[in-house]
C-alpha cells in the first residue's frame, strides 16, 4: 500500500536541516548523523519551517593587476572604516564601503598577512614575503612601510600580545615579546624548531596565547615543560597541503583543513578530532567534497570554500581495480609511455613527466583513461609550469574514434589565462556535460578504456 513520503517538512525532512530525522514508515531510515555533511544544494535550510533562496557568491570587483594566489584575508577597520584586506601577489586588495583599492606591497609576492598591535598600541596590518624581502606593515591611514632586516614566511598575533613568525627555513618559528616592535630584529627570539625539518610549516595560528603551528604532518602545540612542540595529530598522513588556511575560531580552538578534504578541530583543551564535512560520508554518493581552500567564521556560523574533487577521488583512481585509471603520454609521436602506475600512487616523488611533451608542443598527447566514463581529472602538480602559453589546444574522447570536445576546457590549473594549465593543482574537465554518455571504450597502448586525450599546444612567447 502506497503511503505519502515526506521528503521535506518544516525544515526537518531533508538534508538541509541538521537535526536527526525520524524514519519514514515505508522507507528504510536514512539517519542523519551528527558531524556529517548535509547537502542542501544552494538553498538555505537553516531556519526550521522553510527553505529559502540561499546566498550565492557575487563577483563585485575585479582585481586586474595581480595574477597570484591570495595568502589570506582579514577584516580591519582603518581610517576609512571597516574593510576586507587581502594580499595578492605584490598588491594588497582593500574592499570597503567607499573605497576599493590595490596598494603596492613590494616587488615580490606576499606570503602571509596578520593584524598586530605593538607597544605603542598602534594597529598594523603586517605582510610577509618569505626569504625574498623584509616584512611590511600598513597603518590605518594607509601608508605602508618596510622593515630592513626581519623576514618571515607567515606571522600571527597571539592574544597575550606576542607576535610569532615562521622563519624562512620553513620549519622554525620565532617570537617577538608583547610590547616589542616586530620591526626590530633584536626583539625576535632565536628560532625554535617545530617537529622535523623536512615537514614544513603551512600555517601559524593560536588558541589564546598558545601557539598552534600547522605543518604538513600535523598540528603542533608548544609544551613549556620541555620547551618543545608536540604533534597533536600524529596519525594524519603527511601532505604538502595539510594545514593550509588553518584559522583560530575563538572558543572552538583551531580548525585545520587537511589535503584529503577533512578538517581537524584542535579544541581549547588541545584535543584533536576530525570534524570535516566528509566525515561519515558515503564515498561517491553523498558528497561532492573537495579540499577546503578558505575558511572563516563569525559568531554562530562559519563558512568555507571547497575545491572540487580533491578529497574524494584518490581511492577511486587506483589502477589495479576500481576505476582502472590509465595515463599514457604520446611523445614523440608514435611513442607511448605508460604512467598509470605513478598516476594514482599518492607518492609525490613519482611523477608524470610532461616537460618534453610541452617543450615539443603540437605533436604530443596526454591520454587519460578509465574503466568507466568520466567527466574530468584532478591533477596534483609536482613542478608547476611558468609558461604563459596555452598548453592544451584540443581535447578528444573515444566515442568510438576520437570526437572533439567543443567549448574549451574547464581548467582549474591555470595561471594567468584560461587554458594555460599546470600552474597549480586542480581540475580539468569539459563544459559539455553529456560527454560521459557519449564515450565508448577504445584501446590505447594496449589498454582498453574510456579515453580522453589532451593535445599539447605549441609554446608561445616566454613571459
Amino acid at each position: 500500500v502506497a503511503e505519502w513520503l515526506t521528503i521535506f517538512s518544516d525544515g526537518s525532512g531533508g538534508y538541509g536541516d541538521y537535526r536527526i530525522e525520524a524514519a519514514p514508515s515505508q522507507a528504510r531510515a536514512y539517519t542523519l548523523a551528527t558531524n556529517r555533511y548535509h547537502f542542501s544544494g544552494g538553498i538555505d535550510a537553516r531556519t526550521p519551517g522553510q527553505l529559502s533562496l540561499s546566498p550565492t557568491s557575487t563577483r563585485v570587483a575585479t582585481q586586474t593587476t595581480s595574477k597570484d594566489t591570495a595568502v589570506g584575508a582579514v577584516v580591519w577597520t582603518d581610517a576609512l572604516g571597516p574593510a576586507f584586506f587581502a594580499p595578492v601577489g605584490i598588491y594588497c586588495i582593500r574592499l570597503g564601503h567607499t573605497n576599493t583599492s590595490e596598494d603596492t606591497l613590494g616587488t615580490v609576492a606576499a606570503t602571509g598577512v596578520c593584524l598586530h598591535t605593538d607597544n605603542a598600541s598602534v594597529q598594523y596590518l603586517y605582510a610577509s614575503f618569505g626569504a625574498s624581502d623584509y616584512i611590511s606593515r600598513r597603518v590605518v591611514a594607509g601608508t605602508w612601510s618596510q622593515d630592513a632586516d626581519v623576514t618571515a614566511l607567515q606571522m600571527d598575533s597571539l592574544d597575550d600580545g606576542r607576535m610569532a613568525k615562521v622563519n624562512t627555513n620553513g620549519y622554525q618559528i620565532s617570537i617577538c615579546p608583547a610590547g616589542a616592535d616586530p620591526f626590530t630584529i633584536a626583539n625576535w627570539g632565536a628560532g625554535i624548531s617545530v617537529g622535523k625539518p623536512q615537514n614544513l610549516i603551512t600555517a601559524l595560528t593560536h588558541i589564546g596565547d598558545i601557539l598552534i603551528v600547522c605543518k604538513t604532518d600535523g598540528a603542533y602545540a608548544y609544551n613549556p615543560v620541555n620547551a618543545t612542540f608536540v604533534n597533536l595529530t600524529p596519525s594524519i598522513a603527511v601532505h604538502d597541503d595539510n594545514g593550509k588556511r588553518a584559522i583560530a575560531v575563538g572558543g572552538l580552538g583551531v580548525l585545520m583543513p587537511l589535503a584529503n578534504g577533512d578538517m581537524v578541530q584542535i579544541d581549547t583543551g588541545l584535543q584533536a578530532r576530525s570534524v570535516g564535512p566528509g566525515i561519515n560520508a558515503q564515498p561517491g554518493r553523498d558528497t561532492p567534497l573537495g579540499r577546503i581552500t578558505a575558511i572563516c567564521y563569525t559568531g554562530e556560523w562559519g563558512y568555507a570554500y571547497t575545491e572540487p574533487f580533491t578529497g574524494k577521488t584518490p581511492g577511486a583512481g587506483r589502477t589495479t581495480y576500481g576505476l582502472g585509471t590509465a595515463v599514457v603520454l604520446e611523445y614523440p609521436p608514435g611513442t607511448f609511455t605508460d604512467y598509470s602506475a605513478v598516476a594514482c600512487d599518492n607518492n609525490a616523488n613519482t611523477c608524470i613527466e610532461l616537460t618534453g611533451a610541452i617543450s615539443n608542443g603540437g605533436d604530443a598527447y596526454l591520454y587519460v583513461g578509465a574503466n568507466v566514463p568520466f567527466e574530468g581529472a584532478y591533477l596534483t602538480m609536482r613542478t608547476v609550469n611558468t609558461e604563459s602559453a596555452s598548453l592544451f589546444t584540443n581535447v578528444y574522447y573515444s566515442s568510438p574514434g576520437w570526437a572533439a570536445v567543443s567549448g574549451g576546457l574547464i581548467d582549474l590549473t591555470w595561471r594567468t589565462i584560461p587554458n594555460c594549465g599546470f600552474a597549480r593543482s586542480g581540475y580539468i574537465g569539459w563544459p559539455t556535460k553529456n560527454i560521459p554518455n557519449l564515450m565508448a571504450k577504445a584501446t590505447v597502448n594496449g589498454k582498453e578504456r574510456y579515453w580522453v586525450k589532451f593535445k599539447f599546444g605549441s609554446i608561445a612567447a616566454v613571459k
Binding site: 540561499s54 595574477k67 571597516p82 625574498s132 623584509y134 583512481g317 610541452i358 574530468g376
Partner: protein, 452 residues
Amino acid sequence: MALAPDAYSSSSGVNVSTLTWSHICTGADLLLVVGVDTFAGGGNPIRAVVGITYNGVALAKIDAQDAGAYCRSELWYLVAPATGTHDIIVDLGGGGIYGISGVTGYIVGGARSLTGADQSAPLGTIAKATGTTTPATVTIASAAGEYVVDSACAYQATAITMTVGTGQTEDWNVTPATGYVGAGSYKAHAVTSMYWALSVTALGWATVAVVIKPTSAPASTDTTVSELWVIPARTEPFPIADGYTGLLAQVLATHFPHLLAWKVDNGQFIWHDLGPVPAYAPLDAMAVGNVMVGGGTEPGLVLFGVESFNGFVTTNIGATSLPVAQRRYPQAGGVADTKSGVIFLSRRQFTQPHRITTVRIWGENVQQADTIRFGWRWDRKRWQTQGEIHGLPVELPITDTTSGLFLETVIGITDYQPWESAVPVITRVDVLPEPVDDALVPEPDEQIPGVD
C-alpha cells in the same frame, strides 16, 4: 631561482705572498665571491692581489680600495665554481705596489658562495669607501631579491675590532694580530648601505661591496604531475522542461567550487552546502564581517573571498549595503536576478523497488509568476522532471518511467520578481511512492558505473 647563501670560509697569514684555504660549493647557479685584505706590517707593505684561483680556475677582480698605506681590501668573483671541496689560492705575486716582493705583512682571506645567482651578469652596482671614523660604511643600493657582499679591513696601532652591521650576516671576522682586522659579510634584499662598527677610530679602514643579482627566473616548461585522478561521471544534465538548465545544472554538476556553511550544535559540527561558486576558480582566502560594501549605508554580514585566477574579488551574503539584487542574508530582500534558481536535494533509500506517482508541494511567498521545478531519479539513472509548476500548494501526478531503490529528488525555484521584500520559500514536499515488481528493478549494469 632566488639567491640563497651557500657556504663561507676564511683564512689568514703573516708575512706571506700566497694564501690557500679550502671552500665547499654546493648547489645550482653558483657564484663565488672572495674578499682579500692585506695589511702593512713587519716591514712588508699592503699588496695588490695578482690572481686568485678556485679549483685552478681564475677569478675575476671586482674592485679594490686602499686605506692609505695601512690596509687594502679587494673583492673577486667566479661564476659557476666547481661544486665540492676545492682550494682557493690567493697570489700576491711580485707586483707589490709598495714593494718589490709579493710578501705582505698580514693577510685575511674569506669566501662566500651563493646559489641562484645570475650566471650571465651576476654583478650589479660596485661601491667602495675609505675612512678612519666608525662605522666603516659604504653606500650601495640593491633591490629586493638581490644580495650585497662586502669585504672590509681596518688598522689601528692599538687593538681594534669590527662588529657587523644590523641585518648583515658575518662570514668572517679575523684579527691576525692586534690592530689588524679583516672581515666580510652579506646582506639580503633591499640594501642601502653596508657597515661595520669599529671599536675605536682607525688609522684607516677600507671596504668594497658589490650587488649580486639573482637568476632572471626565465619561464620554465618543467612540468611534472605527481597524481592524476579521473572523476567518474556521476552528475548528469538536468533537463528542465523549458530548456532552462542554468543554475540548476550548475548546482548538480560537482566540478564547481562550493561554499559550505558550518556551525557547532551541541558539540557537533554541522555542514551545509550552500551551492557552487559562480566562478570556476578556487578561492584561496576569505573573511567575513559586518563590512559595508558598495554604496549602501547599513552594515550587514558580508563574505569576502579572493579567487586565485585573476585575483577576482567576490562577496557573498548580502548586507543592505549591497545592491538590492545582491542582498540575501540575513535580511529578506530578494534575489540576484529573475533567473535565479535554487535547488533542494534530498535522498531516500528503499528496501524494495519503488517508483513515485504523485508529488505535493507547499510554500509561502511564492507568486504565480515564480517557477517551481521538481525532478527525481532512481539509482543514479537519468533525471526526470515534472516541468514548470506555478502557484503553491500543488498536487501533481507523476509519470515515473523508472524505478529503483535509491531515490533522489530536487526542487528548483525561479523567483520572477527579485525586488519583492519576501523571499519565496518551500515549506513541505511529499511524494507518493508505490512498490513495483521486481522485474522492473534495473540490472546493475544499467546503472551509472563507478559510483559505488
